[in-house]
């Protein structure tokens, strides 16, 4: 059940910020990561700038 919920969160992008934090801690330990709000602002812009939907 937990596993399905995890998959659902990943599928919807609900956990994107946590994944981003994990990546920041691992790859750039010294740098201050973006805040939750700033991160999603950036993400939304990026995600809908390319081809995301077909016919």
């Amino acid at each position: 059940m937990n596993r399905i919920f995890e998959l659902l969160r990943q599928l919807s992008g609900d956990d994107a910020y946590e994944r981003y934090l994990a990546h920041c801690r691992k790859a750039h330990p010294g740098r201050e990561p973006l805040s939750r709000k700033a991160f999603f602002k950036l993400e939304t812009e990026r995600k809908w700038s390319g081809i995301r939907r077909c016919c």
Partner: protein
């Protein structure tokens, strides 16, 4: 043991196919269609897809993918394979596989079904998979970039212009589907309009109230959408219904205005939340439809072939060959998918060994959606199906339409149509062209039988809302992508135009894109024979052209990398596409039948106009229609030219490679071993 299972699947599949092929005259159960499809998919995946992956492409699980090498916690991010599959499927599956089979059902259930099955396993799935593989090996580059790198600047430019053109045609034809579904339907119109404030609310929630809580926002949004379907029914029974009762001429301007607004508003406010909602709606409805078909397994009422294989069909004109192959693009092979398979999905892919499942498997699922749409169209009484889908310019209205259609051998009465319209909560269901209303009637009767018949009108409007919502999402997203491409192009001429955040440039390019598709949409609506006959073939031809470009890139790469022996894997579907697209385009250009040939129709109308044979209201719009047919004809010639330029470039490069002359270098990135394989527990 495994061999026995596969032998069993093969035998069962053969029985199912035999049932379909052998049943002549008597009706057949939709169970056999679904069973045959699933067996064909299983066998094709196990034996063909995996063979291509291991023998032709040679996927390498030890090699790091772009997602791993460029991981940034944002777009490049190694993702669980099921999640990647979900993203990929949600991106490739749009309204196309629902509308195409519905229209092609005018030939009977068999031709469309066979093309969906064969086209998918040998063509569409192969295209999606090989493009996904080649893009993964090239740092996740887009199709346009790969065409430029591997086939040279001419191929690259053709791919770019082709993509922009298909976007415009796609949006106009989808806009037409929405307009036809909503005209004089206060229930449908108010429901679809309500989705805009719902999207605003969800957007504000996810941006300011609880930033990034996508699941919470989506659940609230989906509940509000379902509520808007029900409340649309209340509006329909109230005096304010007249506020939402529009004819198609008004709806066109509403859709165009909406498209422009959506292109210039910030994405977080409208586009992003609408996209989340439409994705859940889409996945949920596809699952519900599969469930309903599975438990109901209704009888197919449409014959295997109708007499319209001779080219006289009311929904669109043209013989079975080649028009069934361009009417069903999405669901069998869709060039648009190559834009998602390159550029987007490779950035999530965590291991090359998942390529067959995501590329080939994703398209198999879309093909299955097309089969379900075919079932939903063919379980209707054929008379009802033709009454809903035939334009009034051809069969008349009301009693006349019922008489004409019954005379074709598909009995239908005025009472029957009036009762059906009443059950579905609509004023009339005659001449509701575009495929959406007939699909909604099919879905409503399936859902009604599976989950309770009392709610037919609600199911009908749910289906209309579901189709309209993700058509509008494609419209928003497509306009935005078109705008970026145009800004990119214009940026080469005058630098400031290329800045995506400079407001004058945003306004100008958005208006240009909206005006382009708005033009075709407007003409499609005023055309007395129904815009579907005009626009859908153009869309099919452009989509198949894009598929041919993608397969040319793939074939070129296979030959350049010394795999000429296996180049037929993408070369054969390419040859078939080139053949059908050229045949269809040639007929649209040169046919003397005024319902098929664009130029013939223009000349015919011009002659009638000059002889004064047209009634005044038709004479007023005739010059616009004539100009438009000529533009459509010119566009068809243009698509044909782009198609053959790319094929010629591919052949030229391959020939140079074979005789040892220099060719553009293979742009594959070097092998870097994956670190994820050892320290990452795979599921």
């Amino acid at each position: 043991m495994k061999k026995i299972v596969w032998a069993g699947i093969s035998v069962f599949g053969a029985i199912a196919l035999g049932q379909i092929a052998a049943s002549r005259g008597e009706s057949i159960n939709s169970f056999w269609l679904v069973a045959a499809a699933l067996c064909v998919y299983a066998i094709a995946y196990r034996f063909y897809a995996l063979w291509i992956a291991t023998r032709v492409l040679v996927t390498d699980p030890t090699r790091a993918t772009p997602a791993e090498r460029f991981e940034n916690g944002l777009d490049f991010s190694p993702t669980n394979k099921w999640v990647t599959f979900g993203h990929h499927f949600a991106a490739i599956a749009g309204p196309g596989p629902l509308v195409g089979p519905t229209l092609a059902a005018q030939f009977g259930y068999l031709p469309g079904t066979l093309w969906i099955l064969i086209g998918a396993v040998l063509g569409g799935c192969v295209q999606d998979m090989v493009i996904l593989f080649f893009s993964t090996r090239r740092d996740g580059r887009s199709l346009g970039q790969m065409a430029r790198d591997e086939l040279g600047p001419v191929g690259g430019a053709a791919a770019l212009i082709g993509t922009l053109a298909i976007m415009v045609i796609l949006i106009s034809v989808l806009g037409l589907v929405v307009v036809n579904a909503l005209k004089h339907s206060p229930w449908g119109t108010s429901t679809v309009m309500a989705t805009i404030p719902v999207a605003f609310l969800v957007g504000i929630y996810m941006r300011h109230v609880r930033p990034g809580r996508v699941l919470e926002g989506s659940i609230i949004g989906v509940l509000l959408l379902l509520f808007s379907v029900v409340s649309g029914g209340w509006i329909d029974h109230h005096a304010i219904r007249t506020l939402f009762d529009f004819d198609s001429g008004t709806l066109v301007w509403l859709v165009i205005g909406y498209g422009f607004l959506a292109a210039i508003l910030p994405v977080w406010l409208l586009l992003a939340p609408r996209d989340y909602l439409s994705t859940y709606m889409k996945l949920g409805t596809v699952v519900a439809l599969a469930f309903a078909i599975f438990i109901m397994h209704p009888e197919i009422r449409m014959p295997a072939f109708t007499k319209f294989v001779d080219g006289t069909g009311p929904i669109f004109a043209g013989k079975l060959f080649p028009f069934v192959f361009i009417t069903i693009a999405c669901g069998a092979i869709s060039g648009f998918h190559s834009l998602v398979s390159s550029g987007t999905t490779p950035k999530l892919l965590s291991n090359e060994r998942d390529i067959p499942m995501i590329g080939y498997g994703g398209m198999l699922l879309e093909s299955f959606v097309a089969i379900m749409a075919m079932v939903a169209a063919t379980v209707l009484d054929p008379g009802v199906y033709f009454a809903i889908n035939s334009p009034s310019g051809l069969v008349g209205t009301g009693m006349d339409a019922a008489k004409t259609i019954s005379a074709w051998g598909f009995p239908v009465t005025l009472d029957q149509m009036n009762n059906l319209a009443k059950e579905m909560g609509e004023k009339s269901l005659f001449a509701r062209t575009g495929g959406a209303p007939s699909l909604a009637v099919g879905m409503a009767s399936l859902f009604g039988n599976a989950f309770g018949r009392g709610l037919l009108a609600i199911w009908y409007h749910f289906a209309i809302m579901f189709e309209a919502v993700f058509i509008l999402t494609t419209l928003d997203a497509g306009t935005r992508v078109g705008r970026f491409m145009l800004q990119d192009l214009l940026g080469n001429i005058w630098k400031p135009m290329g800045r995506t955040s400079w407001y004058p440039s945003v306004l100008f390019t958005s208006a240009a894109i909206v005006a382009s598709w708005g033009y075709f949409l407007y003409i499609g609506v005023i055309d007395p024979n129904g815009g579907v006959n005009l626009l859908w073939p153009l869309f099919g031809i452009s989509n198949q052209m894009l598929a041919a470009i993608a397969l040319s890139v793939a074939t070129g790469i296979l030959i350049k990398t010394g795999r000429a022996r296996h180049a037929w894997v993408s070369g054969l579907p390419l040859a078939w596409l080139a053949f059908i697209t050229t045949s269809a385009a040639w007929e649209k250009i040169s046919s003397t039948d005024v319902r098929i040939g664009f130029f013939a129709a223009a000349d015919n109308l011009a002659e009638k106009l000059s002889l004064g044979k047209l009634p005044p209201e038709k004479a007023a719009i005739a010059p616009k229609l004539i100009l438009n047919m000529q533009i459509d004809g010119a566009l068809t010639i243009f698509f044909l030219a782009v198609l053959w330029i790319v094929i010629f470039e591919m052949a030229r490069i391959s020939w140079r490679k074979t005789i040892g002359l220099p060719v553009p270098p293979v742009s594959e990135s070097p092998h870097i071993p994956s670190r994820l394989v050892e320290d990452w527990v795979r599921d």
